[in-house]
């Protein structure tokens, strides 16, 4: 069963997340793939990865800051943000800063402990793709985006706060 929701729909996932890696040779062994590599890994080996004949994206853990990606951000079509546990709130701020301050327009994907009951808030903070934890019911998760019909705050999906719309 599909476990990736992207822009409100279940989608085939062609990316592979590289959770840990020792060196760039890992990628060279499987050419033509699409890999999401750790930010640190990319920082270390970006020279080696430049001539890789597949797509490369990055993921950040919750204790990393999107402002540290630097000017290279634009070259990534996808940035994944990891929830080591669903109750870790830092990726919400990272997603929001990616959209609001760094004006990032690509895919922001939630990975890790991604559960149904957090999807709505994630979507409000700029996530548009959700790699669900394996035990989640994808059909049920699709309904989460309609939990609320509006919000008080200025959010990524509704840039005008309620007080400007009333």
């Amino acid at each position: 069963m599909q476990k990736l929701i992207k822009n409100g729909q279940l989608t085939q996932d062609y990316w592979t997340i590289l959770r840990e890696a020792t060196g760039p040779e890992v990628l060279q062994a499987v050419p033509g793939k699409s890999f999401i590599v750790p930010l640190k890994f990319w920082k270390l080996y970006q020279g080696d990865l430049a001539d890789y004949d597949g797509d490369v994206a990055i993921w950040l853990d919750s204790d990393e800051n999107v402002n540290d990606i630097g000017p290279e951000l634009e070259r990534f079509s996808l940035v994944a943000l990891n929830f080591p546990i669903f109750s870790d709130g830092r990726p919400y701020t990272n997603a929001r800063e990616l959209r609001e301050c760094l004006k990032y327009g690509g895919e922001i994907r939630a990975i890790g402990d991604v559960l149904r009951d957090q999807l709505y808030y994630m979507s409000q903070c700029g996530f548009n793709a959700f790699d669900l934890r394996s035990d989640q019911n994808p059909e049920n998760c699709l309904t989460a985006f309609a939990d609320f019909s509006t919000s008080y705050q200025a959010t990524i999906s509704e840039p005008s706060p309620l007080f400007r719309r009333r």
């Binding site: 800051n65 669903f86 109750s87 870790d88 709130g89 830092r90 919400y92 701020t93 990272n94 929001r96 609001e100 301050c101 559960l115 009951d117 957090q118 709505y120 808030y121 994630m122 409000q124 903070c125 939990d147 609320f148 019909s149 509006t150 919000s151 008080y152 705050q153 200025a154 959010t155 840039p159 005008s160 706060p161 309620l162 007080f163 400007r164 009333r166």
Partner: protein
């Protein structure tokens, strides 16, 4: 008070539906305990020692008579006939069934009430001075800004999983009654040198295990920048607050470990990115918020009418109550009345369904249908005509609502303690009662004067013991309940954290210990000096010597 429109009502209804679904999935075994935990907490639901506890939000302490009646209904039908007003102006029900909670929330929604974000690691109910809008010493009514903060903080998608709970207080009066400086964020309405009213914003205050007075982040923020300023503090905290140790996760620890200068510069840096963004308050929005807090239709009346002065002269009990429980109102002919919920033998802050209904009736008859809950766990009628005070007092008396001890030693703050709370190390309600029994002479209490005793059953400090003039903290010593006493705390303008007097005491020693402390004060005070001032002048030593003296 604020009136919900279709958006508020719709979001609230959606929240009830959402939590009903979550509760059903939990009861069906489809949501694990740890996954359900933050969901139920952010809907006000704790699992307690004896039963679940539901904490209902009272935004900045304001209640209409209809809401009071609904709370009475809930107390009667879903609880054992009473509720408990908390130190954050909320009300708790100690005996609901988990299965009933979605229904209770639906009942609350009918009167524009809820239990949203009254618990959990999120932004909690914003609190303020219980005299806001009527106090004679007020710079500007804080409630419109509390309402702006309420909306901004409710369902904030970015801040639902903070490192720890987060509390905001706003103060617009000269005398701070909102314990503003011991909040994660404290907001003071102030006037700058150009005569413009804006905000001074502190961060990093808090009680709990490590009591800290907040430090200044913004010296002056224009009104329109209020929400972006708050958001920038929250964002720095969400990103950098500690998550490895829940006892070090509050913003006060982050501010201390980062250093105030560095922390401030991080906030300013964050603020520079969002300060003129969409969340900037508009003039229309400020006026919109203010429109819900305009003066009621006051009748032109003289101060000190004949009906009042005659009653004061003829009825000494009324006069005693009047001196303590009636405060100056900004409008002539009106008074602010506090019904003190500190009757001896009743847990401080507890209120029955019968009392709740009666408070509603009195509010309708005497005070434009509204009351406020104070952080001292009392009920305030903000707009009573002075000429009606005598009749009003007589009615309060019929339902045990006329304790004349406001601000006195027996007007204690007290958490539910070990009788109810799963976190408590020790009981606190019996301590309060033993003190009320020891000090049962109103003349002696008046002689002692203003003295705040705050009691907490554990170091989470729900009873604000750190800022009590006398603070009492329940501790566990090898399975036995002991009590640590501290002196000199205050949550007012010159806020201070109390100092521990020495080794802790057994439960039955506490009334004697407090009596000795009071004696030292009475023997040392100069003129009209209050307890706190005497303490600040003479220090802890004389108290310590007396309390721990071998033989008396």
């Amino acid at each position: 008070m604020y009136q919900y429109d279709k958006y508020d009502n719709q979001m609230l209804a959606e929240r009830v539906t959402q939590f009903r679904d979550q509760t059903e999935r939990y009861l069906a075994g489809k949501l694990s305990d740890p996954e359900f935990l933050p969901l139920r907490l952010q809907n006000g639901l704790y699992i307690q020692r004896l039963a679940p506890m539901l904490r209902v939000a009272i935004p900045y302490g304001l209640l209409s008579s209809n809401q009071l009646r609904k709370l009475a209904f809930i107390a009667k039908h879903f609880d054992k006939g009473y509720g408990h007003f908390t130190t954050r102006q909320n009300i708790q029900f100690n005996w609901p069934e988990l299965e009933d909670v979605p229904d209770i929330l639906a009942h609350l929604a009918e009167v524009e009430m809820h239990a949203i974000q009254t618990s959990g690691n999120c932004i909690r109910n914003t609190t303020t001075d219980q005299y806001a809008g009527v106090a004679a010493d007020e710079l500007e009514d804080s409630r419109p800004f509390c309402e702006a903060i309420r909306q901004w903080s409710t369902f904030h998608p970015e801040f639902a999983f903070l490192p720890r709970k987060f509390k905001i207080a706003v103060c617009g009066t000269k005398i701070d009654q909102a314990a503003t400086q011991v909040h994660d964020i404290g907001v003071y309405l102030i006037k700058n040198s150009n005569g413009e009213v804006g905000f001074r914003i502190l961060a990093g205050g808090g009680l709990g295990r490590t009591p800290v007075i907040g430090q200044e982040i913004f010296e002056f923020v224009e009104k329109r920048h209020l929400l972006t300023a708050l958001e920038s503090i929250l964002r720095v905290y969400n990103r950098l607050g500690r998550r490895d140790n829940k006892y070090k996760a509050r913003i006060k620890i982050l501010v201390r470990e980062t250093g105030i200068e560095k922390f401030r510069s991080l906030v300013i840096q964050e603020w520079s990115q969002i300060r003129d963004g969409a969340q900037t308050l508009t003039e229309e929005e400020i006026n919109h918020c203010k429109s819900f807090f305009v003066d009621p239709f006051y009748i032109k009346k003289e101060d000190a009418p004949e009906a009042l002065t005659a009653a004061l002269k003829n009825d000494v009990l009324f006069s005693n109550w009047y001196q303590r429980n009636v405060s100056e109102h900004k409008k002539s002919g009106y008074a602010i009345v506090t019904a003190c919920l500190k009757e001896t033998g009743v847990a401080p802050g507890d209120v029955t369904d019968i009392q709740l209904n009666y408070l509603a009736e009195l509010a309708d008859e005497y005070s434009f249908g509204e009351v406020r809950i104070s952080h001292h766990q009392n009920v305030v009628f903000a707009d009573v005509q002075q000429s009606e005070l005598y009749a009003f007092w007589k009615k309060l008396k019929t339902k045990s609502l006329a304790s004349m001890n406001l601000g006195l030693l027996t007007d204690m703050i007290c958490c539910p303690g070990g009788d109810f709370c799963a976190l408590a190390n020790a009981k606190s309600i019996p301590i309060a009662e033993s003190l009320q029994r020891k000090f049962d002479d109103i003349d002696e209490l008046k002689n002692i004067g203003n003295l705040r005793i705050n009691i907490s059953g554990c170091m989470n400090a729900c009873g604000h013991h750190h800022v009590g003039n006398i603070g009492i903290l329940g501790v566990d010593k090898k399975g036995e309940e002991f009590y640590q006493v501290s002196l000199g705390g205050s949550s007012q303008n010159e806020a201070s954290i109390g100092k521990i007097i020495g080794p802790s005491f057994a439960q039955d020693e506490i009334p004697v210990v407090v009596k000795k402390i009071v004696e030292v004060y009475k023997n040392s005070r100069q003129n009209e000096e209050a307890f706190l001032d005497t303490y600040r002048r003479i220090g802890i030593k004389p108290f310590k010597e007396k309390v721990y003296a071998k033989a008396d």
